[in-house]
């Protein structure tokens, strides 16, 4: 085989790879668009009026996740399954965003932490790598941390909207989350940096609770959390 033949042959490899990347990129763009739409729906909970119809917003978001599932289904077909990590970077960002959105919906619905299994189910992907296109555990955790920072914003805005009970509940939830993360031995990577940000969210929410407490606003609500939910 001459040098020219050899390089022509190699060019075949390179083109195939570039085509796959191009295909993935297109599906990811569509996913990003849908993710942005879900975000727009959910962000309206920060509006003073938004607190009233959280359930309807969640329903709407759940509907949009149908579209997401269609596209994740498509994504899987674009590359050989065992090369997940070869192209991981291409969808990593959007998958973390989607995990965040799923976690946020679940929190708004039930004030509970979404599990990795639930997120995978909402996105119609797998939990175990062996079974196919899956949700990497680090991407799940990144999504959860993005939600934590959204919750600190929610704590502030719920006070503005006159809901004095929610911050306390958020505070408890975030504290539990913080303890959970403290169990993990994170490497010095982007996830670690994101986790360092959690400290600020915790502090921020504690200060909201403090402001309510010192004015005697926390107590009065504490008595009736059942009714409010």
């Amino acid at each position: 085989m001459s040098v020219t033949e050899m390089f022509s042959y190699i060019q075949g490899f390179l083109s195939a790879d570039q085509d796959i990347r191009e295909d993935i990129r297109k599906v990811v763009q569509v996913l990003e668009q849908t993710a942005r739409e879900i975000l727009t729906v959910l962000q309206s909970v920060h509006q003073p009026t938004g607190f009233k119809d959280i359930p309807s917003k969640c329903t709407k978001a759940r509907e949009l996740f149908c579209t997401v599932r269609k596209h994740t289904g498509e994504l899987k077909t674009k590359f050989p399954a065992e090369q997940y990590y070869r192209y991981h970077e291409l969808w990593r960002f959007v998958l973390q965003r989607l995990a965040f959105l799923a976690a946020f919906v679940v929190y708004l619905e039930s004030e509970a932490l979404v599990t990795r299994e639930e997120v995978a189910q909402i996105l119609a992907i797998e939990v175990d790598r062996e079974k196919g296109f899956h949700l990497d555990v680090e991407d799940y955790l990144a999504g959860v941390l993005i939600m934590a920072s959204e919750l600190s914003r929610l704590a502030v805005n719920s006070v503005t909207a006159g809901d004095y009970g929610r911050p306390l509940r958020i505070s408890n939830f975030i504290n539990e989350l913080d303890s959970g993360f403290r169990l993990l031995n994170l490497k010095n990577d982007p996830l670690r940096k994101r986790y360092d940000g959690l400290k600020y969210d915790v502090k921020k929410i504690e200060e909201v609770v403090y402001d309510l407490s010192i004015r005697g606003l926390a107590k009065e609500q504490e008595q009736e959390p059942g009714e409010e939910k």
Partner: protein, 257 residues
């Protein structure tokens, strides 16, 4: 012999003399546009600066009128740009004018918000950038020049507007204005959600400003939160009293300036 005369008669040199003229006139135009843009920036910034006084003085109308006059001046300058770009490709000189144009969008949208409490549209802005010019041949009818602001500059100007809105909010709180902060937070949230919808599909510069926008929104939300929390300790009408009594010495002070 050939080499010596070369530098004078060679076709290469002749061609380069043409390039020289072409490049020089292009660069000169570019420089002129940069200068106009810089003037527009300065004057727009001054307008914004002036508009911020609405939070601390009673005569809002007067300030709005003064700002309107300033903005008219800026529009005259944009007319100069339109004239320079007559028959040209706007995007060839876009880099020269984009800072000024963005700053104008910021100023005019700030003015519009204070007056109407709504977001000005690109069409509304462009509608005021129509210029009537006497034609050079004096007996022809006057020609109409327009300037169309690119969507990206509009977006970038609006992104910067959010920073000004945040500043206005902080000042309002400082001066005891109870309504503006809440209005601002709603408005800012709408703009924020709008940008979130666009996300990274817009030009790179827009994505870059998203972080600042988010921070501004956070500051405004914190301010509203503070008002609510503090307001909880006293009935609202009393709150207004407290601050209106404070407003007087401030005004006096400002009138001196």
């Amino acid at each position: 012999k050939i080499e010596d005369s070369g530098s004078h008669n060679s076709p290469i040199i002749a061609a380069f003399r043409v390039f020289q003229q072409e490049l020089d006139s292009r660069y000169d135009k570019y420089e002129r546009l940069v200068k106009i843009s810089r003037d527009i920036t300065i004057e727009s910034k001054r307008t914004i600066f002036l508009l911020h006084r609405v939070t601390s003085v009673p005569d809002v109308e007067g300030i709005l009128k003064e700002a309107e006059v300033k903005l008219d001046g800026v529009r005259q300058k944009i007319g100069l740009i339109a004239e320079e770009l007559r028959g040209e490709d706007l995007y060839q000189f876009h880099r020269a004018i984009t800072p000024g144009i963005q700053e104008y969008v910021e100023a005019v949208s700030f003015h519009h918000f204070i007056k109407h409490r709504s977001l000005i549209s690109l069409e509304e802005i462009n509608a005021r950038l129509v210029f009537i010019r006497d034609s050079k041949g004096s007996d022809e009818s006057p020609s109409v020049l327009t300037f169309q602001i690119p969507a990206s500059d509009f977006l970038l100007g609006i992104a910067d507007l959010t920073g000004e809105l945040m500043r206005m909010c902080i000042s309002s709180v400082g001066n005891g204005d109870m309504d503006t902060p809440f209005q601002l937070s709603g408005f800012l949230r709408e703009i924020h959600d709008g940008f979130a919808l666009i996300g990274n599909t817009g030009p790179y510069e827009v994505s870059k400003k998203l972080h600042t926008l988010r921070q501004s929104l956070g500051k405004v939300e914190d301010a509203c939160y503070t008002l609510r929390v503090r307001g909880s300790e006293i009935p609202t009408h009393m709150l207004a009293d407290v601050f209106s009594s404070r407003a007087v010495p401030l005004d006096a002070d400002d009138n001196m300036a």
